[in-house]
Structures are given as C-alpha cells and as structure tokens.
C-alpha cells in the first residue's frame, strides 16, 4: 500500500494506460527510453499524425497527453512546465506551437487530446503491431469513415424515413388539434350568445368529447374569453 505522491497536481488523463511502463528495450536503459519517446513526441507535435509501432505509440501517447494537459493546467508562465516542454520537445519552435496552438485548441476539450488507431501490418514479415497516433483536430482528412455524414447508408435511409413519417404524423396531429380548437371557438361563442352562465361546463364537455389531455389547454383558453365577455 503506497501513499499517493501529492506534491504536484495533475489533470486526469482521458486515455487508458497500462499500469506498468513498457521498457522499449535499448542499450541506454531508462534514459534511452525517454529519449526515444522524446523523438516520437516531437514528431507527433510537428506532424500531428504519425504511423509507428504500436508499443511505442502507446507509450508516447501517455507522455503527449500529460505534456498537453500540464501546458493547459499551468500555462506558459510556469517555470516547471516550461522546463518540461524544453526537455520533451526537441525542436524548440514547437514549444510555441504547444502553448499558442495546442493549448487553445484543447482548452475545453472533454475527451483525450490524441487518438490512436491500429494500423495494418506489412503482410509477410516481422509481425510488430502498428498504430497511427494523431492529435485531435489535425488538418488531415479523417481516418475512419464517417457513418453519419453519408445519408445513403441503409441505417441512415431508414432513420430519415422514420423521421419524415414521425413529422408528418405530428403535423397531422397539430392540424387536427387546430381544427378542434376552431370548432371549440365557434361552439363556445355560440354557447356564450345563447346562455353565458354555462361557459365552463361547455368547455369541460368539449375536452371529454375529445378524450385527450392535450386538448384541454385550448379548451380552457376558449373558456376565458367567453368569461371576459360577460
């Protein structure tokens, strides 16, 4: 049972990460691992979409998310965050991009800042898993087909038709209601002329005849003018 290290506050990551780090084997050990990730992270910030080995992409993703979330949380006037950015971003002009482009872009982003897809593997050969890692809001065309935009797909056709039918039905209902209301007006005016004392009871009768709770409102509305008329 370890106590949580509370010396620094950090925002919650919106991605799934492994409980234990991957070692990304290399002769320099832990430092080499960070150097490797640093290169990939810089490339990610520069190109906004990269294709690479799955393990490395997954490791880098966490670091990219943390860096951006720290930049959002603490801003560019925070010395520790600036040091972090200086360490992680090899091409220094990208530090400006991080604080001036990415921070405004992701400021109110409720989801993760990066996305990762499984990429196809080269067929005969070493079977490393491949992945595409990208920043959200990048300028490239989307990698996944948009199932909602194409209204010709079968489920969209079905849903659109269902919507049309529902609307037609609603319009018909409204028209019917209006007609009923008109009838009420005519009827109540007639009633008011004939016997003004029974205005309320006539309104109730109308609603009972129609048998719909929704129609009560126009019925009541009709009652009031006739009362005013008295």
């Amino acid at each position: 049972m370890n106590q949580a290290d509370v010396s620094k506050l950090m925002s919650r990551l919106r991605i799934k990460y492994k409980p234990v780090r991957r070692r990304l084997k290399n002769p320099e050990g832990a430092e080499g691992r960070l150097k490797k990730i640093r290169k990939t992270l810089t490339a990610l910030l520069k190109h906004e979409r990269i294709e690479l080995n799955y393990n490395r992409a997954d490791e880098t993703r966490g670091y990219a998310e943390r860096l951006i979330s720290d930049a959002i949380r603490y801003g560019d006037c925070h010395r520790a965050t600036m040091e972090l950015a200086d360490y992680w971003i090899l091409e220094k002009q990208l530090i400006h991009k991080l604080f001036k482009v990415l921070v405004p872009r992701f400021d109110n982003c409720p989801v993760s800042y990066t996305r990762m897809y499984r990429a196809p593997r080269p067929c005969p050969g070493m079977y490393y898993k491949r992945a595409v890692l990208e920043l959200r809001g990048n300028p490239y065309p989307p990698l996944l087909p948009d199932m909602t935009a194409n209204r010709n797909l079968i489920h969209n056709v079905l849903l659109d038709e269902a919507q049309k039918e529902f609307r037609a039905q609603k319009y018909a209902e409204i028209a019917k209601k209006l007609e009923a209301a008109d009838d009420n007006v005519i009827k109540s005016i007639d009633d008011g002329d004939e016997e003004s004392s029974s205005a309320e009871s006539s309104g109730e009768d109308e609603t009972n005849v129609l048998g719909e709770a929704q129609v009560q409102q126009p019925g009541e509305k009709v009652v009031h003018p006739s009362q005013n008329m008295q």
Binding site: T40, Y117, P120
Partner: protein, 423 residues
C-alpha cells in the same frame, strides 16, 4: 402455439419423420433434388474451360484477372485480390450496367466493380439486401409452422428500403391469426439462426417447365411462373434462388450470403385481404452486419416496421397486363438522350440507363434510375481493425496526389525524422 419448436416436443422422432416426408417438407426435398440435378447439369454443360478477361476497377488497385468462363464468380475474383474485398463485397456490377450476384458465374469478358454497404451511394446493395431479407423471411415463414398448418408462400413486392420494412406475403391456413409477442420473438430468433449459418444465395436459371414441376405444390407460385417467364425478354426461363434448403422465385440480385445480415427482427404480421383470398403480410427490419445502431434508434426502426407496409398488394398475375418492356433500342435511345442532357448541363460523368421499369398500375413508381460513374467512386477507407496493407499506399496517395512524392504524415517521414521512427 402453432410453431414446430413446440410441436417437436409432443411427437416422437419417428412420427415426426413420417409427417415430414409426407407434408411440405417432402415437397421441399423434391424441389431441392431437382435444383441440385439441374445445377449439376448446367455445370456439365460448360464443357471445355475457356478463359475470360475480367478488368477490375476499385480498391485496392485496378487489375485484370484471367478467369474461367461460366465457372468463376465475382467472389472468386475478390478471393484473388484481398480478404477485405471478399468479406465486404455484397454485390458486383458488371460493365457498369448489370448488377451481378457474388456467386453467379461470369459469362464473358467484362469490367467488374464490387459494391459494398458503405459505398458513397449503396442504393443497389441496400435493395439487394432488402430483397435477400425478404427471401429469408419467406424461408423462415415456411418452416416455422406446425405440419398441420398449410403454408403457401405467395410473393413479395419489389423491395423498397424507404418503406421501413421488408415483406413477404404468405397464405397461412388459419383464420384470424394474430401472432403474440412471443411468437414474433421466436420468428426473429429463427431468422437470426438462419442468418448465422452463413448460407450462400445460389442462383439458377431454369426452364418454365422445370420450375412448374418444382412448385407444383404451391398454387400461387405455379400461377406466377408463366407470367414471370413472359416478363423476361428472352426465352422461357425463370430465375430461382436457393438459400439452405429453401428455394424461391426472384429476379435478384441478392447479397452474397446470409451472414451479411446482422441485427434482424420480425416485427409484425398483418392480415391483408386480396383478390386471391386472405394472406398474411410478414414484416421485418434488419441491418447489415457491422452497422452498429444503439437500441433506441433501432427501436424506432422496429416501431416503424410494425405498421402495415404500403408495398404493392399481391394480385393474381392475370390482372396485371400491358406491361411495358423496353427493347434494347429504347434503352440505348434513353441513354443517348441522358448523355446529351448531361453534357448540356455540364456534368462530366458517364451516364447510362440501367433500370427501366414502368408499371401501369402504379404511375408513381420510380420510372427511371440513372447511374453515373461518379456514384461508384470510392474514397479511401481505413478501419480500425482493417488488416489491409495496400490501403496504406492508397492513403499516401491521398496525401501526395501520386506515388513517390514527399509524404506528410505517414511512414515516409522526411529524412531528418527517419530516426524518430526507427524501431
């Protein structure tokens, strides 16, 4: 409960077998035998194997395949190219004009396109899917009743996805039958079972006599066969489809096999009165496999599919007369007219008249369907789980406008970043 699933429990196996041999199952058995025999005969008629050239256009790349005439199917072409094509292609388009089943042998040199459910405009695939679902509904309806209920399939109206449900009209020897919710659920589950088997839709063109022989137990079908044969412009043949052990008349085309059907529900059975007596209209709704819809949205579709489908009510074939059948000259004339009009408008695509129907009884029916080449242009497609190596190249092209250029985002990073992505 009038379904076989319950009935199975009450009779011994021997009784069941006797009944099955005698009843409609016997007729089905005979129909299957005839179908198999005829298919074998037609295969033998192919004779010496000749080669045809099939030019395929589309993803992953345009290729020319040398296939066997009368034996190779579009599915075989897909098998040669990629697993992805094999799995997703539901329908083929030959020479940009004729829709072709995936398992129907190719007959001559042709251009081939493979259509799937996520095309830019999957109109034809959707229609074929709806038609296939109708046939499956018929297959389910024929098998699900007890032996003492006399079931005769009638027909189904031309599939229209926009009506919200696929339909099969069936004559059931029951008066005032109203299926309960449980019965509908059983029917749905039977339908799902049928779909999960992944049965191929086998197409066979047979002579009218043979078809009449096969459908001698079904008076409706027997009535329809001469009429359908006369509708086809050449010869006295009708097209049959077999799925599992169910055989039905349909003009086609159908999707490749039943595994294309994903979510599937039988929603309602309506009693309809026609000039051929009382029929029951079975209705259902389905989505292709891989189309994930949340249950609320699917519930809306189910609710809509419960209403009586406004499709054409079945009529006896003799009452339909005076069907307009365009000759090839008329078709070419219309095509020419279309092209002239399009050129005048400034549309660059190629247009051809494909489907030309004119029903006297329903003037509102879609008279003309125009297909332009642009409809079938494909955008790069990149799924999460797609194991599809060649797509990457295409994707690169998308960025670069040509192979071999400087890649912006993918594997070929600029030289200064070559070390970034080393493994």
């Amino acid at each position: 409960m009038i379904f076989t699933s319950i009935w199975y429990k009450t009779f011994s196996r021997r009784e069941r077998r006797n009944a099955a041999v005698q009843g409609c199952a016997g007729a089905r058995h005979k129909r299957n035998l005839l179908f198999t025999k005829e298919k074998k005969r037609q295969n033998e008629n192919v004779g010496r194997i000749e080669k045809i050239e099939v030019q395929y256009t589309g993803t992953p790349e345009d290729v020319t395949l040398i296939m066997n005439k009368g034996i190779s199917t579009p599915f075989n072409c897909a098998q040669h190219m990629s697993e992805m094509l094999m799995q997703r292609s539901a329908l083929a388009l030959i020479d940009d004009t004729t829709l072709w089943d995936m398992h129907r042998p190719l007959e001559a040199d042709c251009h081939l396109r493979l259509l799937h459910f996520r095309d830019t405009d999957p109109y034809h695939v959707n229609k074929a899917f709806w038609r296939s679902c109708s046939i499956l509904l018929g297959a389910m309806a024929e098998n699900i009743f007890k032996e003492d209920v006399h079931v005769e399939l009638h027909s189904f109206p031309s599939p229209n996805v926009k009506t919200g449900s696929f339909v099969y009209d069936v004559s059931v020897g029951l008066d005032n039958w109203q299926p309960s919710q449980d019965e509908l659920r059983i029917m749905s589950s039977q339908m799902v079972n049928l779909c999960q088997k992944g049965l191929k839709f086998e197409r066979l063109e047979v002579s009218t006599e043979l078809a009449l022989d096969m459908f001698e137990d079904n008076r409706y079908k027997a009535d329809q066969i001469p009429h359908i044969a006369s509708q086809l412009s050449e010869g006295k043949t009708v097209v049959l489809y077999r799925v599992g052990d169910h055989i039905d008349l349909s003009r086609g085309p159908m999707v490749g096999d039943t595994s294309f059907v994903g979510k599937c529900t039988v929603t309602a059975v309506h009693k309809i009165e026609t000039d051929q007596g009382i029929l029951y209209r079975f209705q259902g709704v389905a989505l292709p496999k891989g189309f994930l819809l949340n249950h609320f949205a699917y519930g809306i579709l189910e609710d809509r599919a419960r209403k009586l489908n406004p499709g054409r009510l079945p009529t006896s074939p003799s009452s339909v007369s005076n069907i307009f059948q365009p000759t090839s000259e008329v078709v070419s004339l219309v095509t020419w007219l279309l092209q002239v009009t399009l050129r005048a408008v400034g549309c660059v695509g190629e247009a051809r008249c494909v489907h030309f129907t004119l029903a006297i009884k329903k003037p509102k029916h879609r008279v003309l369907r125009m297909v332009s080449k642009n409809d079938y242009m494909e955008l790069p497609h990149y799924g999460i789980w797609v194991d599809w190596a060649s797509n990457r190249n295409e994707y690169q092209e998308y960025f670069l406008g040509g192979k071999g250029g400087r890649c912006v985002g993918l594997t070929a990073l600029p030289p200064s970043f070559a070390d970034c992505l080393e493994i």
